[in-house]
């Protein structure tokens, strides 16, 4: 299956990841990305924004997000410690 390269970018004081790029199956839902991110930063209170712009529904396939909003061959996911940021 196709894989999507996801890059996590810390914003607003959220913990920074040493490794920030991961690959995920294009058919997976965004919920899986969020779960993975929260495990990586070891916090439940991080909120993911696509291109610093919006939080997608957990149902959206990662492949769709990449196709619609991907930049330079990656899906950029900014993550912030609060919702106020969005």
């Amino acid at each position: 299956a196709l894989a999507v390269k996801v890059q996590f970018v810390s914003t607003g004081g959220a913990p920074v990841l040493i490794q920030s790029e991961f690959k995920i199956d294009a058919t997976e839902k965004f919920a899986k990305v969020l779960k993975f991110l929260r495990r990586q930063v070891q916090q439940d209170n991080v909120f993911p924004f696509i291109n610093q712009a919006f939080i997608p529904s957990q149902d959206e396939p990662v492949g769709d997000l990449y196709k619609n909003f991907g930049v330079h061959g990656k899906l950029i996911v900014n993550y912030a410690p609060t919702l106020a940021w969005g």
């Binding site: 712009a53 919006f54 939080i55 529904s57 957990q58 149902d59 959206e60 769709d64 619609n68 909003f69």
Partner: protein, 332 residues
């Protein structure tokens, strides 16, 4: 066209809510609660009224001391938990090919399926989900979310309260005045422009489209005998922006053209395939331009695929500016 828009925004579905029999504590069992639900609203927005109606009849949680007022309500249709972030009308169109009136839903106070869908905490969470979908639509239409971000708290509240009340959005071109002219109505999209203006727009533009595709085994000849959806795995939910391409003089980019573009596996262009003349009368229902032997529904309507896509997007889009299209396609 104004009329079509008003019908869409004020569309409602009669729903009969029945308490899950295993949660009933009183005899006789409470009667179902009948409510009109806005097509473009969300089921949790009815939770307060439903909770009030059933709270004296519901068993309190056996193991915990959680009062019923703290429990998160959820709903199922024939065993399928309903995802609360999908507009009510879309759920109805998708799950009832042959519309059931009233729509029989079961209410649960216990056992929220949090593995399957994110719990919501009050109307704020629903509003938050709505605002983010609006931002996503804005990003597709304009390439940024500035216009949504620039809304004042007051503007946001006005927008949201029109959805809670099931009214036409306050940014509708007919109702805008003052600040709205300068904010969301003019900024958010070309979708809310009047027809004459929209046709003057020179550049190609993108329309946010969300597709709910359901493969049906054994054909669609008898919609009453269709098996209900048992799991959300049976529905493909796709976000596919469609660019409205400028056509030659006198030709419109149609709904069919849009669907051929995003789902070429199900829609064929008949002009490219002249000898494939199907005897199935279903094909003709959708007009001559496009080959399709399934069913399409938008806002409860089975649209002709020859409708200009621009018209569809401007008149049948939801309040978050996504056009939600339900599709039943014959299974392999």
């Amino acid at each position: 066209a104004m009329d079509a828009r008003r019908h869409v925004w004020e569309g409602a579905i009669p729903i009969s809510f029945q308490l899950d029999p295993s949660e009933i504590a009183t005899a006789p069992a409470p009667l179902p609660l009948l409510l009109m639900a806005a097509r473009n609203g969300y089921l949790p927005l009815l939770a307060t009224r439903i909770r009030q109606y059933f709270q004296n009849a519901v068993l309190s949680s056996p193991s915990s001391s959680t009062p019923s007022s703290d429990q998160i309500l959820w709903f199922d249709f024939k065993g399928l938990p309903l995802k609360w972030h999908i507009p009510t009308g879309v759920l109805f169109d998708l799950l009832c090919l042959e519309p059931q009136r009233p729509w029989d839903l079961t209410v649960h106070f216990r056992g929220y399926p949090s593995e399957m869908m994110a719990p919501y905490e009050g109307d704020e969470a629903v509003k938050w989900s709505f605002m983010n979908t609006l931002k996503e639509a804005s990003y597709i239409i304009r390439g940024n979310t500035k216009n949504v971000m620039d809304l004042t708290q007051n503007d946001q509240n006005n927008l949201w309260s029109s959805i809670v009340k099931g009214l036409r959005p306050v940014f509708d071109v007919e109702t805008i005045s003052g600040i709205w002219k300068n904010t969301i109505a003019s900024q958010l999209s070309l979708l809310v422009l009047g027809e004459s203006k929209a046709s003057q727009v020179a550049r190609n533009r993108k329309v946010p489209l969300r597709l709910y595709v359901r493969a049906v085994n054994g054909g669609l000849d008898d919609p009453f005998s269709l098996a209900p959806v048992k799991s959300w795995n049976e529905v493909m939910i796709l976000t596919r922006p469609v660019e409205i391409l400028r056509q030659e003089e006198g030709l419109a980019f149609t709904l069919g053209d849009a669907l051929v573009k995003v789902l070429p596996q199900y829609f064929g262009s008949s002009s490219e395939d002249p000898e494939h003349s199907s005897s199935d009368s279903r094909v003709d229902e959708y007009g001559p331009g496009v080959q399709f032997d399934g069913t399409v529904k938008i806002q409860g309507i089975q649209p002709n695929l020859d409708l200009p896509f621009d018209w569809v997007a401007r008149n049948l889009a939801g309040q978050e500016h996504f056009t939600h299209v339900c599709l039943w396609v014959p299974g392999k």
